[in-house]
Symmetry: C2
Subunit: 345 residues, 2 copies
């Protein structure tokens, strides 16, 4: 007989329907499930805060329907039969959009980005920064910018989505490295924050044309372009690249809800014009942050140090309630968040 009194109920968001264009609440479904019992070597964890990120839109295009939406969370150990974990300890992990999770002994041992790692000691900073500036978005900025753009002191850097979790970190890392920074965001409030982070030129792409802004701010051309947005922004930005410019292609959020892509159609509608890439001798490189998994802690330690020293500031936009995961996620595409979008359970 199973002792149902100890059973843990988990809430789980699954992808119920394939998004076509902008995702809607109805594309997701909230389920409840009983976790299996915690066996030798296993732990049961409870999410305290979860991350919503634009990349999830990409995953939603190909992941099997009726399966759990992917994503990271900071979780507390509720029950432990593992010698490596004690009850009450915090971890950063990627079980997806789940309130509670049974993690098996085998899963706990697995490496890679999906591994279960202790939350870094974040001093007085909120635990949620382990999902943001001292987490995957932080490392996305750190490695994606420094490794692919190879910025030199004095060079001009362009960052869009600059009030986002990744973009705001890139702005500040570029300043730490001695670059001139041109940044864009989608509201006056966001632009003011980005300006306060040290960006040299900030423009609101909703009220100022990219072409005009860059004509004024980058008369000698852009050496490094960290692109989170793609689409029309990049189309207008590319002619302003300097010879031998480097583009770190992190994301293209302006295109994620493009229906032709959802339908898997092969359409030549990219802004990365071959003629410009050739004549300006540009290097355009895409990345997924797990490629630097072997250097993961190097990045987090550096980011944490900068945060503690006050050189790397951050903001969070917190949505309360696990039931609001889809709402917070969809909000990403409306620019609802300043800094990292977090959902508190």
């Amino acid at each position: 007989m199973v002792d149902t009194s100890k059973m843990v109920k988990a809430k789980v968001w699954v992808l119920d329907r394939r998004p076509l264009g902008e995702p809607t609440i109805e594309d997701f479904k909230l389920l409840e499930e009983d976790l299996p019992p915690c066996s030798d070597g296993d732990v049961v964890i409870a999410a305290e805060c979860l991350s919503v990120d634009p990349y999830m839109r990409y995953r939603a295009r190909k992941m099997p329907l009726k399966t759990t939406m992917p994503g990271g969370q900071v979780a507390r150990v509720l029950e432990s039969k593992s010698p490596s974990w004690r009850v009450g300890q915090y971890m950063v992990c990627y079980p997806g959009w789940r309130s509670h999770t049974l993690v098996t002994a085998k899963e706990l041992k697995e490496g890679g980005l999906g591994s279960y790692t202790p939350l870094p000691d974040l001093k007085d900073f909120p635990k949620s920064t382990g999902l943001g500036v001292v987490g995957m978005p932080g490392n996305t900025a750190y490695f994606g910018f420094l490794e692919l753009c190879q910025p030199k002191s004095g060079e001009t850097v362009l960052v869009n989505g600059a009030a986002g979790a990744v973009g705001s970190a890139v702005v500040q890392i570029a300043k730490i490295k001695g670059c001139k920074v041109i940044a864009s965001a989608g509201s006056q409030e966001k632009c003011e924050w980005v300006k306060s982070l040290g960006a040299d030129h900030v423009f609101n792409y909703k009220t100022t044309s990219v072409t005009q802004a860059l004509k004024d701010a980058a008369p000698d051309g852009i050496n490094c372009y960290f692109d989170n947005v793609g689409g029309q922004f990049t189309l207008e930005a590319l002619p302003h690249m300097a010879d031998f410019g480097r583009v770190s292609l992190c994301g293209a959020i302006s295109t994620y809800n493009d229906e032709t892509r959802d339908k898997g159609q092969l359409v030549a509608n990219s802004p990365f014009d071959a003629g410009l890439i050739i004549t300006k001798q540009l290097r355009v490189e895409g990345f997924l942050v797990p490629r630097w998994i072997a250097r993961w802690m190097e990045g987090l330690n550096q980011l944490k140090q900068w945060v503690v020293e006050g050189k790397l500031k951050y903001q969070e936009t917190v949505t309360e309630g696990f039931e609001n995961m889809p709402k917070a996620f969809i909000g990403l595409f409306h620019g609802d968040n300043i800094g990292k979008a977090i959902v508190n359970v």
Copy 2:
């Protein structure tokens, strides 16, 4: 009084009208001019053979009208008042589409790709190879492929325009480096020649879909893509890239006659999809071969050695008559040439 008996008459092709779409004979105009007298330090040269190359279409978009079409030639010294050059000596130089040229002492001293350099000792090979396999197209293949694609032995390489001057060299260099080579060209005759150069898979893109050809020939993906063609070819090729694939963007001949580009319109119609570049973590890099000017002779010496050893084969398509320069040039866009397109004066 000027001694007109010694005056040299030069024939010169100028760009008379801005091409819109495919260039026509009427876009060019043949002029005759009297060369100024040969002063101290100067030389007078006579072109023996000239090069027509796709890049000239690009130049025609922005160069001033009524000025000389740019390009390289192998020329013989007719008259010399320079201590560095003797009458009868051959040089490789870039005075443009001209039958005869007065080169001043100052011009002779200038460095860079436009410099006046002695024709390498090509043994029994025709002098025109100094414009092809042991010239700029050879170095375009050598540096553009090796430096940007960084091919490793055993990797899969895709080359289009593979029966052209550059493509045919890339095919063979990739084989020398131990790669598996997939190549495409636009006729059965061309495909047979490319096959004879050692390519593992060759397809005629006019009769076989790129998608199907690559599905069959590159089931594990393409590591290195040397792109001369762009457009629809690249649109279909990109989904077949392997993770961390490298694209060396040499040219995009399929788009050079695109009127929207002639009009300078900013249109998002590139095949280099950001989503593919990100998820496959591709590196796409464009180049102009003068970036390797400091290593120019390294390339030519290696190419010459391979040619002498029989490891690097070439073909030429020769058009007779300086008056046929525009015809030979326009033919490039119809795939008229196998190997290097040369015009004999």
